[in-house]
């Protein structure tokens, strides 16, 4: 478990990062918490001759609030999310999800930026961010651009981010209504067998908005527009929830792994989503 030799860079600002990326091209890669990248390097599945550590780069940390949005710097850790009281009040689903990621040791290091940029279908934050309709800010030699989370993921480890771009922030509209992040895993520190992120707005007894995304059930996170739509206008009775589940099942495409065969994953995805909807509705 020893990585191939690499050069270690620790620039102080984003310009420094960008110039290193430009200079070394696909020989260079940024590192945030390193808790996905370093294992890959140790397994020699990732070869990174130039490793650019983002820890000292100014401007990538901090959680800031405006009236309608919340901005998470890319280097905000999962631990930071769990400990932030204002965030817990304004977007409690983030805390609920972060608490189900890995274990405390990993969460001290793992970052929001690394989690969403990684492109691993097992990561929990991509689906969560799709549910919340987040926007990712990317900065590269050509300038800055925003890409919606729902358009960001192309395939496993393939995203809309160019190799020479750095993800600097994740911005979400302040979520409304009830929420739930429901995840089934085999043990602490495991990626999801199936996970569901749900936000629901209730008006009177009727659902007026619903957003649903699933994790580790395809080679990308799955934002299921149809599943959300199936709930809107209903009172979330059994039939409505069943329709949402059916719609979601049409959007996922799980594969067999050590967590179980496809039929099991499909079944659990349905159960998990149903429970998430019920919990979110109860909180709405």
């Amino acid at each position: 478990m020893i990585p191939a030799a690499f050069e270690y860079h620790r620039p102080k600002d984003l310009d420094g990062v960008l110039s290193l990326l430009t200079e070394h091209g696909d020989e260079a890669r940024v590192m945030a918490g390193g808790h996905s990248l370093i294992p890959m390097m140790k397994l020699r599945m990732a070869d990174v001759p130039h490793l650019i550590d983002l820890q000292d780069v100014a401007g990538l940390t901090g959680i800031s609030h405006s009236d309608n949005t919340i901005r998470l710097g890319a280097m905000v850790t999962q631990h930071d999310i769990i400990g932030d009281a204002k965030l817990a009040e304004r977007a409690p689903i983030l805390r609920e999800a972060a608490l189900q990621i890995a274990d405390p040791q990993v969460r001290y290091m793992g970052t929001v930026g690394g989690n969403v940029a990684n492109g691993d279908p097992g990561n929990d934050m991509p689906g969560l961010m799709q549910c919340l309709d987040a926007v990712f800010t990317l900065v590269g030699p050509e300038g800055t651009r925003d890409v919606p989370a729902r358009d960001f993921y192309e395939a496993a480890y393939m995203t809309a981010r160019e190799d020479d771009e750095v993800l600097t922030a994740v911005t979400i509209p302040v979520p409304r209504g009830g929420y739930a992040y429901e995840k089934q895993k085999r043990k602490i520190g495991d990626y999801a067998t199936a996970a569901a992120a749900v936000q629901i707005v209730k008006d009177g007894g009727t659902c007026t908005a619903a957003s649903i995304a699933m994790t580790n059930l395809s080679d990308t996170p799955v934002y299921s527009d149809a599943a959300g739509a199936a709930l809107i206008g209903t009172s979330l009775d059994d039939a409505a929830r069943a329709a949402a589940v059916a719609a979601m099942l049409g959007d996922i495409d799980p594969t067999e792994d050590n967590r179980g065969p496809v039929a099991f994953k499909i079944h659990v995805a349905g159960v998990i989503l149903n429970r998430a909807i019920e919990r979110a509705w109860a909180r709405a």
Binding site: M1, I2, A4, A5, R44, D103, Q184, R186, K187, I188, G189, D190, Y191, T193, N258, R259, G260, P261, A263, F264, H267, V268, V271, I272
Partner: protein, 809 residues
Amino acid sequence: MKDDVENREDRVANLKGLGCSRKRVEDARFTQGKGNYVDDIKLDGMIFGDFVRSPYAHARIKSIDASAALEVPGVLAVLTAKDLEPLGLHWMPTLAGDKQMVLADGKVLFQGQEVAFVVAEDRYAAADGIELVEVDYEELPVIVDPFEALKSDVVLREDLVAEDGSLPDGAHGPRKHANHIFTWEAGDKDPTEEVIANAEVVAEESMYYHRTHPCPLETCGCVASMDKVNGKLTLWGTFQAPHAIRTVVSLISGIEEHNIRVISPDIGGGFGNKVGAYPGYVCSVVASIVTGKPVKWIEDRMDNLMTTAFARDYWMTGKISATKEGKITGLHCHVTADHGGFDACADPTKFPAGFMNICTGSYDIPTAYLAVDGVYTNKAPGGVSYRCSFRVTEAVYFIERMIEVLAIELNMDAAELRRVNFIRKEQFPYTAALGWEYDSGDYHTAWEKALKAVDYEGLRAEQAQRIADFKAGKTRSLMGIGLSFFTEIVGAGPVKNCDILGLGMFDSCEIRIHPTGSAIARLGTISQGQGHATTFAQILASEIGLPADSITIEEGDTDTAPYGLGTYGSRSTPVAGAATAMAGRKIRAKAQMIAAYLLEVHDNDVEFDVDRFVVKGAPERFKTMKEIAFAAYNQAIPGIEPGLEAVSYYDPPNMTYPFGAYVCVMDIDVDTGVTDIRRFYALDDCGTRINPMIIEGQVHGGLTEALAVAMGQEIAYDDMGNVKTGTLMDFFLPTAWEVPNYETDYTVTPSPHHPIGAKGVGESPHVGGVPAFSNAVHDAFRAFGLRHTNMPHDHWRIWRTAHELGLHA
């Protein structure tokens, strides 16, 4: 001083002897990061070795080209089988009488097999060198199923087939097929089959006890240092049996045994994984001889999981017969044992399937028969006893599942079925149908105590309600009550029938009392976390009357410790613990003579009292052991040599048979397969209890490993022989989060033949725990028609059970 006779209770307490929950003396260094493990050893000029491993499970090696690797700065040498062959070290003997390739000799038989050994100035250079060794493989058909292996004409071990195609006998007799290793039988075949054929009730079941791995926190490793000036080889390593390793190294290297010093430093868990001899040890020794430098080899986690000793992998088929009332009349068991590419099982020589013939369990079964067929496949070699005595976990799992299946067949409560079949207290010593003589037991008392403690009746009532609610659609959760009653067989063992590679399985203790009344004792065993430095001092404290705190226990250095067979199979307390007590008694016998001389009375006129010898009938006249120790060295006593030392080699007259009663209460989410262990009660009877706190710690640890194995831990292969569970992401190692609360309890039935009546406890909870967890899963589904489903009971397999029973409709 003489009038200062403190009260007796205080004197007993001061010793911290038997029965005291003395804090572990080891923990001061372990909890401060001050342990000294093999990877902490750093020697001047030390270099590193690591393996090129096969990506294929079965392949011929056409060529190995190390030239690019040798170009890497810091890479010093690349060893292959060709380099070892002139030394006769390209193969090595296994503990099971087979031989194993040290480095691939023409072919590989399992994924991860050692192909070449890269020696470099540091680990990084070695790792880079490994990447550049070019091995040209020609893939061969892969067999991962032992049943297929016995039918296939793909020969895995050409070296075991004669030129004319015939099959020479193996180490354990005739072989039926090129991929067959041995057949081992116990008991009476024909009578058993007859009893079963004519029985009123017969239950049959087949079960697979999956392959898993002991996975100690510290992986295996060593440092070999050949001193070319004085011809001495020092080998530090993670050895559960340092003396046996010394003898094996001597036999295969030709270096005389006095020129080899084997040292086991602190060991971070073994659980059987560190009993065997591995290619890493041999290659390190050779590399040190070749380079004249100390060579370190340390496995990484994947190496450890994929290549060094696995456990289990037993396909077991049973038939159990009984009367209509539930009295068991016969038991038949057949095992197809998957041993992987080489037979490297760690078992006493005469027991190629370990003590699988303890599979009649805790029950009075008049007739029984067992046959085990060992088979080669394209999997890693091993077959160690993961936290159990040799194959006892398999045996206990088998019988405890068969009992449950029989209960279903009889439509009887499984607790009651056990009760009516237990060996009764007055039947001990009890000779079982498969040959073992159980030393002592009181199973009914333990069982009643356990059932009462958990309110068994109440649990069954609650379960009945749950089933009714489930059927009425009020809940999607089922409740299982997992019962297990186990009898372990530990403390191998009597030299007349227990040896490993011809080395008798006695153990030893050597004691030196220092003049000021403290002591050092050295043993042939080696702690891997069991707390020997704590408990053996307690045994001795009670025997020789010096405080445990004044006694140093030392193990693991073959230059200083007396010869012994090491620590595994819960043998340390039964064997070395007995040696300790016996050596202590020799000290006491000499001390008695010294005391009598000092008190000017006859030897028989003094008696031992806690920490002193007292003149009979005159308790105010005494000599403390401390005083006696001083006199032993400093006073000329006619007819008595100076000094106070003793050594004892203990050959146990019998094994010991700890037992226990476990109950697990589990809730199961039928829709997701998620389980919640709500309660776990463990009653252990390990005979005399030396340190209750350490016992409790051992029980917690053993149960946690049992939880792992029953609920998710496995070494799984795909059809190509690729290991699917080679990292801790997929190989289940429970953390505090997954572990339930354990309630521990005990009864005390001393061993009649052990000097202090102790039986051993380290492995009991694992042996008894696995069936308790598994039976809970089975019990939850019993009302819906489940008889048996294989472990591990991870989410998807439980979900599949529910699905197949129609519970998702």
